[in-house]
Symmetry: C2
Subunit: 294 residues, 2 copies
Amino acid sequence: MLSDIGSRLIGAGGKRLRPALFLLSARLSGKDNYDDLVPLAAALEITHVASLIHDDVIDNSGLRRGKETANARFGNHVAVLAGDYLFASVFGLIGDKEYPREVGLKLADLVKLLTVGEIQQDSSLYKIPEDADEYYRQIERKTAEFMAVCCETGAMVEGVGPKMARQMHDFGYNLGMAFQITDDLLDITGTDASIGKPAGSDIRQGVITLPVIYALNNSSDREKLTAIVSNPEMSESELAEAITIVRESGGVDFSRKKVQEFIRQAKASIPEECDSELRKSFESLADYILRRNF
Amino acid sequence: MLSDIGSRLIGAGGKRLRPALFLLSARLSGKDNYDDLVPLAAALEITHVASLIHDDVIDNSGLRRGKETANARFGNHVAVLAGDYLFASVFGLIGDKEYPREVGLKLADLVKLLTVGEIQQDSSLYKIPEDADEYYRQIERKTAEFMAVCCETGAMVEGVGPKMARQMHDFGYNLGMAFQITDDLLDITGTDASIGKPAGSDIRQGVITLPVIYALNNSSDREKLTAIVSNPEMSESELAEAITIVRESGGVDFSRKKVQEFIRQAKASIPEECDSELRKSFESLADYILRRNF
């Protein structure tokens, strides 16, 4: 059953952005001991997958990447345990290799941060925020710190020194902020087919994202929007109305500008010592997130 | 919220048997560097608590140790995440100290084994087993291997050598088998008040334990018992009848004899090199489990 869940998750795709960030960052050292790096690259992706499985249980989601979720197919019981199994595998994978001790600590802290982020998101559902501050903190815990850890540990395991490790942390952090805002934007601008799950899911589930926060503060229909997104019992036609209000508020453009800003900061964080080929890879990754529409 | 869950769990008591086994086993070395050992002792108890929290979500339990469970109080969402947080803390605690690399691997494997055990138990609910073999494998994964790891890592971290570490593994394993059979017996012989949760919970939830398996094979009422324990819709009066059939079948005595056997094997596994005071502690622990009725 666990193999079946694993195969389905692998088969469902995903961008494997976290291991890619890790492996690219490790190249900063000029070394290329791929075999030693792969277990940790895998551990980072498995951490992501395990947290998605538990998030789907918590959000009671039926679809992820266009496929049935583990909880929908096997029930919450199995999905909880499958996530536990995968989290344990993460620490099995990194315990098996001679990585610096700090790597295990960073991963343990990361899983703690992800769970705290989920608990805090869970407690703020359908609540209208005053401004975007709490939103930024939430996507930091959910995505930006994760990508920061991928880049930082990539640099660390190859011993490039604390300054470059810190710069790579910042690269991953800014990339992650841009990535999550884009993800949240797609929920407003995308279609069911393009994003692999029902559009408007965030609003339906009470998660108030950046374009919505912008509209709540700037749209002439802000009162109507407030009434809809704070109501757990919103109808499908109200949801469609809310999406239209957000789209017409300028919230999408505002959010896209924020994405560009984080991408700019990410690029500025790439260490000067980075050779031109590797720099091009980091920049391509950043541009890919800027252009991402799936 | 996480602190609140933590305080409740600590306040609810529990025997702290796993850290006790670990700390006692570490004394085999004659050394006494308590400060270095406590984080791992705590990690073992936290592993146990985290798996109980997830088990309670899965079994939808309302009471544990006579107190409201995390899922009953805070909902399944928070309970899943609180368990994840605690599992991550385990690897944070052991990553922070200079324990042998093998310790982290053993803990990762242990968490995997616990989850596999739960999944397998979940898939065999309300199914009548042919004999007790699968039962023994289940309690091995659920309890015996856990206590074996506590004793083995206790010996390992103080470097007592592989032979004694193996003997301590066997001590913990046999103690764990005895412990779990006793636990399962209490569900048949105890009262709601004495065990801190409703008596007969195992049968009600479809978990078929050793005294029940004995009765299914030896009681003159075995057909009635089979019909009740294989029926997820059993009534409270049928449950009471099933308990009476098991009690009158000789299944309780049979199981108690098995407990004595495992305790005997546990005592026989105590290394000869063990000094008399420490040996007395190990034997007291074994006798405590033999006499345990709560």
